[in-house]
């Protein structure tokens, strides 16, 4: 069948007629032939376009790496290896050292994992092993929803809720217990390494728990039942048969969580205290790589900028390595079937062989003790062990249940806080249409104009809309390439590039866009166009991978049916495959839109922000996240605070709405297609 192999073959071959009917009259046949040639051109063009966009995704990754490498040149030439161990960041004397930022990044993301991982695994175990089936879906949906809360909202909420709690209730207690020794030195303030880590943990928890959950869920039911049939309790069955096989998936989730925590800028800037010094204590102020870039890039002069780029390069290397490690672990666990169980030394073999060298055990007759010389069977021994096992089972359920409750608390709290602080402003219709008011000190509260976030809403819609306009078609085409045209090495390179791009911290994408614009078109830095560009770069890989997954879910039979009808490949793709995958495609687009709409760091660096309505693509522009980030941090202006909370509420409603819609779509995608 020529049609299935390559559309190009059709040019020379006679038109394929599946029914084997007699040739059509000459005129019509040449007509049809003409059409086929035309179709082939389109087919080839489509194929070429798909390959080109896919190559573009790889090129994008390459560009990010090369541009940052190149732009840091000035700095690395000047400071060299001293950069890595230097402890000061002094733009006045042009002395730059990265050690405080590096150690701040490691400390905060390490601590964040320390807090998040046990809770996340607890949630995953509770949801896959213990929770009644009926509650599983709703609870899982709520945990997943926390992932849709933008980090700027977490940060803003945390300044109000987490920092005071940590500063007043947790740290003084810790300090008293430990006598203020070592890592507990320094007066507690609530704006320090500990607070930042706690909030980072809250942010990465849903990611880690979702990945762990799918790893646990992938262990077949028969393994659990095998354990149960030996008399294991449910928690013992989980321990015996589920946790170990899922280990590699869980580790991969932890690594990805580490990457996200290390790359997060907005939360850090809000909570760590922003002091460029080594984090000598949990209660010390500090800084991270991402935080330093976000803080200084917009105001920095060229020498400092290239030092910041060099910092960014470090972060890039770390996140890429972490992601490669995560992929490697999963691959390794899938590919290698280790020949040995956990005891690799062959100890049991040696011991048992001696055991058995005396010959077979005497065949016990009926009623004889079961094994030679064995003690009374443990089951028949007093019930103390039974109580221990039962208690352990209850403890496992209680602990994982508590973890799940704990994991849901932040979402509840952030929603409650946003409603109570932002609700007042958000009920005024004028809030959505008017500009930011003049700043108004807290004392004059009564007469303060409330104003609104009209420009911010406009800006967000504009930025996300512009970004989607480019990123969605590009991402879909690249996804089509991966799923429909891709073969061999090329595909895996494109897929790897898209995966790595997804994992690159957004602050680095912002940095990349700034550097490119400063070199190519300095006038466009700090404009709406720059912001849209950065968001587009963020969205492309997300849409690409989501498209690939959605298209792969379309049964091969649907493609073959279309090809067998004589559809050229591109028409089969456009007419059959893409429409059947529509739910999955829309889910992917929604996820990408949510990611862009909630993005802050990249927008701060590129679109800059503005209190005014949109004034042109070459002017700075506002956005919801920017209002929260900028006005929210001005704690002395009460009406700005209220506006920021209103913006947070609007953003939350939008993000949660999009996320719920995406879930519903995804559910539609798994249901059999009524029209197919």
């Amino acid at each position: 069948m020529t049609a299935t192999q390559s559309p190009a073959d059709c040019t020379e071959a006679p038109p394929y007629d599946p029914a084997g009917r007699p040739p059509t009259p000459a005129g019509r046949q040449s007509d049809r032939r003409l059409r086929l040639v035309g179709l082939n051109r389109i087919g080839r063009a489509f194929h070429g376009l798909a390959i080109a966009t896919a190559a573009g995704v790889v090129a994008l990754l390459g560009a990010v790496v090369l541009v940052l490498l190149e732009a840091s040149g000035g700095s690395s030439a000047r400071t060299g290896p001293a950069f890595l161990v230097g402890q000061t960041w002094d733009p006045v004397h042009n002395v730059y050292g990265a050690l405080p930022a590096i150690s701040g990044t490691i400390a905060t993301s390490g601590l964040a994992l320390l807090f998040a991982v046990p809770v996340a695994i607890g949630v995953a175990i509770f949801l896959t092993e213990f929770v009644p089936r009926r509650l599983r879906e709703p609870i899982a949906a709520l945990v997943d929803l926390s992932a849709a809360v933008p980090s700027v909202v977490w940060g803003f909420w945390a300044i109000l809720v987490v920092a005071p709690f940590v500063g007043h209730s947790v740290e003084p207690v810790l300090a008293r217990w430990t006598g203020g020794a070592g890592p507990f030195a320094r007066p507690p303030t609530g704006f320090d390494v500990l607070s930042a880590s706690v909030v980072l943990a809250i942010m990465v928890l849903p990611t880690i728990s979702a990945i762990s959950r799918s790893a646990l869920g992938a262990v077949p039911r028969s393994q659990r039942e095998a354990a149960l049939s030996l008399g294991a309790t449910r928690s013992e069955a989980a321990w015996l048969s589920v946790l170990r096989p899922a280990r590699s998936g869980i580790v991969a989730g932890i690594l990805l969580g580490f990457g996200r925590a290390a790359g997060e800028a907005v939360i850090v800037v809000g909570l760590i205290g922003n002091v460029y010094a080594l984090p000598t204590s949990l209660f010390a102020q500090g800084q991270t790589i991402a935080g330093e870039i976000l803080n200084d890039l917009n105001s920095g002069l060229p020498p400092e900028r290239s030092a910041l780029v060099e910092l960014g390069l470090l972060l890039l290397v770390v996140t890429v390595l972490v992601q490669l490690a995560a992929r490697g672990i999963v691959r390794w666990a899938e590919a290698s079937r280790p020949r040995f169980g956990s005891d690799r030394s062959g100890r049991a073999t040696r011991i048992l062989r001696e055991f058995g060298s005396g010959g077979l055990p005497p065949d016990p007759g009926p009623g004889a003790p079961a094994a030679p010389g064995r003690r009374p069977h443990p089951r028949t021994r007093p019930g103390h062990r039974r109580i221990v096992r039962r208690a352990r089972g209850i403890a496992a359920v209680a602990l994982t249940g508590a973890a799940t409750t704990l994991a849901l608390l932040p979402l509840v709290s952030v929603l409650g806080t946003a409603i109570s602080f932002g609700g007042v402003a958000a009920v005024h219709p004028s809030f959505y249409t008017s500009e930011l008011p003049a700043a108004c000190p807290a004392i004059a509260q009564a007469s303060c104009p409330i104003g609104g976030i009209g420009p911010a809403i406009q800006g967000t819609l504009l930025l996300v809309g512009l970004a989607s306009l480019v990123a969605v078609p590009v991402g879909i085409l690249a996804g089509v390439y991966l799923s429909e045209y891709g073969r061999g090495r090329g595909t895996s390179i494109v897929r790897l590039a898209a995966d790595l791009l997804v994992g690159i911290p957004s602050v680095l994408i912002g940095l990349f866009v700034v550097v490119v614009l400063l070199q190519g078109a300095p006038a466009l830095d700090n404009t709406a166009l720059a912001g849209a560009l950065a968001l587009g770069v963020l969205m492309v890989p997300i849409v690409t991978r989501a498209t690939e997954e959605a298209l792969k879910a379309v049964p091969q039979a649907a493609r073959e049916a279309a090809l067998a009808l004589g559809f050229p490949r591109h028409r089969a793709t456009i007419r059959v495959v893409l429409p059947s995958a529509r739910y999955g495609l829309i889910t992917g687009i929604f996820l990408a839109v949510a990611r862009a709409g909630g993005e802050t760091a990249a927008v701060v660096l590129t679109a800059f922000g503005s209190p005014y309505w949109f004034a042109g693509l070459n002017h700075p522009v506002s956005s919801l996240t920017l209002v929260i980030f900028e006005q929210g941090s001005q704690s002395s202006y009460s009406n700005w605070q209220a506006d920021a909370w209103g913006a947070a509420l609007v953003l939350l409603v939008l993000m949660l709405g999009v996320s719920v819609a995406a879930r519903l779509m995804a559910r539609g995608a798994t249901r059999p297609d009524p029209e197919a």
Binding site: A226, A227, S229, P338, A370, R379, R381, R386
Partner: protein, 250 residues
Amino acid sequence: MSGKLNVDGLNAWYGRQQVLYDLTLDLPESGVTAVIGPSGCGKTTFLRCLNRLHDELPGARVDGRVLLDGTDVRRLEATEVRARIGMVFQKPTPFSHMSIYENVAAGPRLLGLHRREDLDRAVWASLVRAGLWEEVRDDVDALGTSLSGGQQQRLCIARAIAVEPEVLLMDEPCSALDPIATAKVERLIAELKERYTIVIVTHNLPQARRVSDRTAFFYLGKVVEFDRTSAVFDHPKEALTENYVQGRFG
């Protein structure tokens, strides 16, 4: 009341769908009981009700009584029931990440056997009794899943008997095995029946005839006939049974 396991008025459902109807049968203390019947008639479900594994499925429901030595299994702890009633599944299910040794030791460990010596003895004795020892003696640290299908199934039998159960349920233990491996498992059943009450589900009628002392014929979730194997096969009382054992069945 006589017998090891007495099933009395057992009904079972998956969601709304009832699959077992009012089963009543008494399984004797020793010997092998074969359960035969067409696909989907509820044989597996029956076994899973005996060791309360049916309770673990969401939406599944049972009523009626299963007495183990005269005590209703639902009044015992599920873990105790399952330690006393072992099970071997249709497809071999060695723990995928454990060595042969660890697979067999898993059950005794649950019951509190932790001294290396005791574990070694239990593992060794179980492997010997499951007829696997000679084949794995040089490599009990290899992964359980690295064995052949027949060896894996005998490993699962070893794992089940390491817990010293009183009853052993086997759900089509040979359906994935070649004739040689099947013969080994059958020989094993003949040896084990001295010490355990064995219930075996099989689609292989000659096998049921070879290994069992009694046979229950299930049809559409009901027991049609339950008697000595020779009686069921040679002088069935019911026409349905006769049709089935003579292979005249859809």
